[in-house]
Structures are given as C-alpha cells and as structure tokens.
Symmetry: C2
DNA sequence: GGTTGACTTCGAGCACGCTCTAAATCCTAG
DNA sequence: CTAGGATTTAGAGCGTGCTCGAAGTCAACC
C-alpha cells in the first residue's frame, strides 16, 4: 500500500480520497458531496480506472471552501463564490461583494447572539436570585419561568 | 365576528389561534407544531367544538418559548425546559443547569463567530489590497482566492 | 337554514447539509 | 493470479424546524 503520512507533501501521482479527506478535515462523503455541489472547481484528476487523485492545489481550494463553510457560509454561496473564482480574473468586485455581504450577515448574527446572551443571562440571574432568597416557589411570573 | 384588537386584553373566552399567532409572533402552523412538540405545557383550552382558545397565560408561556427559540435553543431543549417547568417547584437547579448549558453554548458560538468574522475580514482585506494595487490577476495563492 | 371563513388533524413536503447504502469496480499486496 | 480493501455511482435517509395541503368540522352572520 502507498504509505503517505499526513504531513508528507502530496506525491506526484496525487492522493486517494481517504487521505484527501483526512487532510481537509471532512469525510469522504462530504468531499464527494462538495464536488457534486459544484464547489470543487479545480477539476480533480482521475486515474484511468476513475478514482480521484487529489493534488495539493485541489486540497488548497477545498480548504478555502471548508474555511468559508466554517464561517457559516451556505453551500449555495460558496458555490457562487467558486463560480466566480472559476470565471477567472475580472470579477473581483463581485467576489468582494459576496464576501462583504457574508460579513454583514455574520455581524448581524453576532449582534443577535449578543442579545440572546444578554437575555439568557437575565433569565439565569432571575433564577439565581430566586433560589438564593428561597423564593423559588413563590415567583411565577411568566418572565421568570 | 369577534373583533379583537392586537393590544386589547385577552377576553374571558380566550382568543382564536389566528390572533394568538399574531400576538406571539409565530404562524398558526408553528403554534400547532409547538403544541405537538410538547412545548405548550399550559394545556390550551378548547371549545366544545374542539377549537383552541388561548388565554393570556398561554400566550405568556408561548412567548417564553419563542424567546428561548430566538436565542437559538433547540426545540428539544425547550421541550426539556418545559417539562421541568411543568414538573413544578423543586427542580430549579435542573432548569438553571439547562439554561447555563445553553449560555455556555451561546458563548462558544459567539467566539466562533468572532473568529469567522476575523477570517472573513482578513480575506476581504486581501481582496481590497489586491484590487487597490492592481494585483488582481497576479496573486493566485490559494490563501487569497 | 345556508354561506363563508376560521379552524381541526394527520401526514406529506421542503431546505439544508450532510451521511449512508448497495452493488459494482479498481488496484495493490502477497 | 487472487483476495480483500479502497473507491465509484446514484440515490435514499436523516435531523431540524418549520410549512403546507387535503378533507372535514365548526361557528358567526345573514
């Protein structure tokens, strides 16, 4: 068997999907799913028998995708971005717009999360207070349930 | 027809599901779904004909649920919480533990979001720089795509 | 009594992002 | 050459949280 350690450079003949999965941090299923979904614009090579052979450049691009995914970007939007990148030079403004829109969304989510956190903290505070003062079974206002 | 304005107090005979939906901010579908899911522990009254009649106390509890939902708590966890509340006095520690666990999750999500935001900002920064310096089609390192 | 519109239940459908299965094929070690 | 593990495909399945549809019932007004 072709021995390839996780940190060895990718051999000239490329990597099998299992090793590619290991190196990108997703499952082989997900790797194939991303390809079907049109995210993998690097056109992964195949052996004559049809097996995928991943090159470093493939892994690099897939990592871009997984990083975007990690930021909560939807598959659909990553797809859009990928299409732009595949479209080549000249659409940087569009790509930037897409990223900026995503950034805005993240910032909004952040605000909302902060509000949620405050709300939960308030609720927790009420509970703590209640329990400390032994009011646990006297206060039944909905606010505090 | 029974005229009931959105801010009128709930009449003694209760509200129909449509008005309850309006007042709780969810759809009638969602209202029934929450009930099926076991979130609505206030046991909404029914007319002899089987129609739901919402009292203020029902609305108050449902609003607790929607607020928890707004904080991103899962239906399953709201269910657990509801069961505890329905269980009555004496399990305040458990409720608090549940809320605290959720709070921890929110805080983690917050951190992750902050990291995502930073990552996206870095990427956006790279794009801005590239485009400003006219490097748009020279830099193709995967980091910057 | 009749028309209308609100409401009922149950179950299906949907969007998302995987995750898994089955049956076939490939490829490498021995 | 063969055994057996890795990989292939298309498509099904899953968990979440709704959302909708169908077919039937109820109730308010005329």
């Amino acid at each position: 068997m072709l021995e390839v350690n996780p940190h060895d450079p990718v051999p000239p003949e490329g990597l099998g999907i299992a090793e590619a999965a290991r190196r990108t941090g997703v499952s082989v299923h997900t790797l194939r799913y991303y390809e079907r979904a049109g995210l993998v614009i690097t056109d992964v090579d195949r052996t004559t028998g049809g097996r995928r052979r991943y090159r470093q450049s493939d892994l690099d691009w897939i990592k871009v995708c997984t990083r975007l995914r990690d930021t909560g970007m939807s598959i659909r939007d990553i797809r859009r971005y990928a299409d732009l990148v595949a479209g080549g030079r000249g659409n940087e403004h569009e790509r930037l717009a897409l990223l900026a829109a995503h950034r805005t969304e993240l910032a909004e989510r952040m605000d909302e999360l902060a509000r949620s956190l405050a709300m939960i903290d308030r609720k927790i505070g009420i509970y703590r207070e209640r329990m400390a003062t032994g009011d646990a079974d006297r206060l039944w206002a909905p606010e505090t349930r």
